[in-house]
Amino acid sequence: MTSIQAILIGCLVMAAILGSFIFRARLMYRLVGLLLLLTAVTLVLFPDATTALAHMLGVGRGTDLLLYFSLIAGMYAILLLYLRIRDLERKITEQVRAMAVRDAQFSGSR
């Protein structure tokens, strides 16, 4: 095993443990996370596998294939997060608005 493989596997395992803590109450997330971890570790240990897959899809190198996929995954994650933020913003707005209307004051009357 080369040292980069050791570093990558170490990081992956740490991320998986962290994710497992974060999603403590969600079995489905944990299972998907475990599957991702195993896939990632396999690909790190057998880098030629990604290259073979890349060739099948018409991409020259396995690392390029991974780059393309990770870019798309990253964009997708950002969009999902944006949707969540918009939803949160809407809820906050509703709350703040309700409070503002409830506590309306007529300043001249004081």
């Binding site: 918009r86 906050i92 707005t93 503002a100 300043s107």
Partner: protein, 227 residues
């Protein structure tokens, strides 16, 4: 019976200019709702002693959100006409009569103030700002299909029925284009009236920057995708 006119003024850190703006409107006998959008110094302090309604967002949400809050409140106080008015003193209070007139005559449900109908008013607008606003007209038309002589002008009037149907969801500055979008979908009758604007150094410093107009564009694109 006299129609109840409520002037909704969104305010964020406006302080002394807000008091001057509000005093001018009070002289004309309209009801006023100031929506303090989380200012550092509460607007109720700034406006102490004046006969106005003060509502406060305890966090800053944006101008669109503040307008919607004010509109909701005015409707709950049985407003017949709701006027949107900027806090920074750029709109002359004496023009409120002109802006609400088409609603009183029942010739329109929504009235939009325009800086570009009257060449004299248009010349008041700084050149750089004029370019951006012209681009804004084009963008608004592309997104809403409503062609106007001016967009992103904060001076508007809505009938009670219109205000109930124009529910602003864009918290930020994109609300101006959103209103046009809702206007077209709701098939409400609208018209433009010329309004003069007074650009002081103060309002220029508070106004939206040119760069921010790109932000508005992005908001609109995202709105198209996610709604």
């Amino acid at each position: 019976m006299e129609p109840k006119v409520f002037v909704v003024i969104p305010a964020y850190n406006e302080d002394s200019i807000l008091r001057a703006t509000v005093s001018e409107i009070l002289k004309r006998g309209y009801s006023i709702v100031v929506v303090d959008d989380g200012s550092a110094r509460p607007a109720s302090e700034v406006l102490a002693g004046l006969n106005v309604w003060c509502l406060r967002h305890n966090v800053n949400l944006g101008q669109g959100a503040a307008l919607q809050t004010g509109q909701l409140f005015a409707l709950s106080r049985n407003a017949d006409i709701i006027v949107h008015f900027d806090a920074d003193g750029q709109h002359p209070a004496e023009l409120i009569d002109r802006v609400i007139e088409p609603i009183l005559n029942r010739t329109a449900d929504v009235v939009l103030g325009s800086r570009f109908l009257n060449p004299v008013d248009a010349r008041q607008v700084p050149f750089k700002k004029r370019l951006v606003l012209r681009a804004g007209i084009l963008v608004s038309w592309m997104f809403t299909g409503v062609w106007l002589s001016d967009t992103h002008n904060g001076f508007r009037a809505l009938s009670r029925a219109a205000a109930g149907r124009i529910v602003i969801r864009e918290n930020g500055f994109a609300h101006a284009t959103e209103i046009l979008d809702l206007l077209r979908r709701s098939k409400l009758r609208y018209c433009e009236v010329p309004v003069a604007v007074h650009y002081s150094e103060y309002s220029a410093s508070k106004g939206q920057s040119v760069l921010n107009s790109f932000n508005i564009l992005f908001d609109l694109i995202l709105r198209r995708i996610f709604h």
